[in-house]
């Protein structure tokens, strides 16, 4: 039988390298919860500060060409309406994908 000594520091480092053990590699659960949180807590029916719909569509389709200023910085994180629009655009994009 071979006895292998486990370096406690290394063991700790490896354990810490899996920060969100039950979430997936894309932190999907976290972002789903965040989405729910924004929808519940950040109503913006008057669409104050929202980027225009074309910019949101561009962000969903070709994010590379959209910058933070176009999106009014972090506005989307404070706007249920923009988040909802993004969700719809995302759904459309997924439906449009070839099988």
């Amino acid at each position: 039988m071979t006895v292998v000594a486990i370096d406690p520091i290394r063991k700790e480092a490896v354990a810490e390298h899996r920060p969100f053990s039950n979430d997936d590699e894309n932190d999907t659960l976290l972002f789903e919860k965040l989405e729910e949180h924004i929808l519940a807590h950040y109503p913006n029916p008057e669409r104050i500060g929202c980027p225009d719909p074309a910019t949101l569509k561009k962000f969903a389709d070709t994010p590379r060409v959209v910058g933070l200023p176009d999106l009014n910085d972090l506005h989307i994180f404070k706007c249920a309406e923009c988040t909802r629009t993004l969700m719809e655009l995302r759904k459309q994009r997924e439906q449009a994908k070839p099988l």
Binding site: A13, E16, H17, P19, F20, S21, N22, D23, E25, N26, D27, L29, L30, F31, K33, L34, E35, H37, H41, Y42, P43, F59, A60, P63, R64, G67, L68, L71, D73, L74, I76, F77, K78, T83, L86, R90
Partner: protein, 186 residues
């Protein structure tokens, strides 16, 4: 704290073209001092993750110094890197000292109060969480919020997946805390 490579720590540094030796020397210097830097952050601030931010500042100073011609030796570069790191730690300690604490926590009202401004408070909280985060981190979080995978986020921002996840880690941790979900998803 996840394992952090020298490349992760250098992700925002622009190495001067034609002086490729600087990058390899800086990487070697980081490897020499990284463990010590983490210990310093833990002992002085009680937060090991601060080591990343302080090290990034130190690296930028080191690269500026090296592009002026010195030092060329990894050991010497390591010493200089530690010195810049210590400077940054000192700067932060001094900044923290300027905070003035008023009253005691026992003086705060203990009863939970129905707060009519809850939505406003939520907005402020998220703004606080993300206040001061670099534009790249903000963009990465927005991209991930639009359900772009981390690998694609990294590609869009021209960096590696590991690097962008390390950059976003602190904000993600705070958001988890704010949303009341544990790291195991509960």
């Amino acid at each position: 704290m996840p394992i952090t490579s020298p490349s992760d720590l250098c992700w925002k540094v622009k190495f001067p073209s034609g002086q490729e030796w600087i990058e390899s020397t800086v990487h070697a210097a980081i490897k020499r001092v990284w463990l010590r830097a983490q210990n310093t952050a833990r002992s002085q601030f009680g937060d090991e993750s601060l080591a990343v931010e302080m090290m990034e500042v130190a690296i930028e100073k080191l690269v500026r110094r090296m592009s002026e011609g010195s030092p060329a030796d990894p050991a010497e570069a390591g010493h200089l890197l530690l010195r810049f790191y210590a400077q940054e730690a000192r700067r932060r300690r001094n900044a923290n000292r300027k905070l003035v604490l008023l009253g005691l926590s026992a003086e705060l009202p203990s009863a939970s109060v129905q707060n009519p401004f809850l939505p406003v408070d939520s907005a402020l909280d998220l703004e606080v969480i993300l206040h001061g985060t670099p534009p790249e981190v903000r963009m990465a979080l927005l991209l991930r919020h639009s359900r772009t995978r981390w690998s694609e986020v990294a590609e869009i921002l021209g960096t590696s997946e590991a690097s962008i996840r390390v950059r976003c880690q602190r904000a993600l941790k705070k958001i988890r805390q704010r949303l009341g979900i544990g790291e195991n998803g509960t």
